[in-house]
Symmetry: C2
Subunit: 114 residues, 2 copies
DNA sequence: CACAAATATACGGATTCCCATATATACGTT
DNA sequence: AACGTATATATGGGAATCCGTATATTTGTG
């Protein structure tokens, strides 16, 4: 993982908020992020695709939904950077977290392997 | 310190290398960074000015030289991000460190206050 | 197989970013 | 004051980035 490329991934409001939300929730699907951040779906999808391509996130499909989470292979230092950032910047996702909590009809999760 | 703005500061090869070198050495002047990174002086100055403007670095003039160091007011989480990155990415500044070590005529430092 | 929901991608346009070059400013020395 | 060194800034051009809209793809359901 190239550090500059990694920081480029974090250098966008939508991507950083998405990452912090995913970090907090474990995994989230596109529609949840779209609702929480109040952004158009293609915008969210585009940024998630970029984060996946650079190895920050990985995804799994479950039925109609695609859930994104931190890539388990993300280097420790990079994961640490994210956790450090999350710990001191809760305000960044405060509004989004509230919207997420009050969102009706969130898709049900099943285990990755049954 | 806005996290997105902070990460934008790190999302450039020249800026990140400069920061990691400064972190390692405590403080460096423009001419040392120019030599270590083998870049044109205006390019280095421009990036340092940007890092200063966003509150990541601060500078002090000593005679003809201007030394840059981490801004003492940089939030802990941001400093931590830098240290975490430095700890696992020594390779990023390896060549530059070698050039710095073999650089002749490095300017002498005096204490900030005499 | 039609249809709706969730997600992904393609396309242009607008903005931002980065650079090299040229020039200006500040300091020290003579 | 004149000159050399170190640093800063201005300018213009090219590349990368981000966005909204339109459209394609995938999946589940009837």
């Amino acid at each position: 993982m190239n550090p500059t490329a990694f920081f480029k991934s974090l250098a966008d409001e939508t991507r950083l908020q998405s990452l912090l939300l995913i970090l907090h929730e474990g995994e989230l699907c596109v529609c949840e992020l779209t609702a929480a951040l109040q952004e158009h779906q293609p915008k969210i999808s585009r940024h998630l695709a970029q984060l996946k391509k650079t190895g920050v996130l990985s995804d799994r499909r479950q039925g109609q939904w695609v859930f994104y989470r931190l890539d388990p292979q993300l280097p420790d230092w990079a994961a640490q950077v994210l956790h450090t950032t999350a710990a001191d910047n809760g305000a960044v996702i405060e509004d989004a977290m509230n919207r997420l909590r009050h969102m009706g009809e969130r898709p049900e999760r099943t285990r990755a392997c049954c």
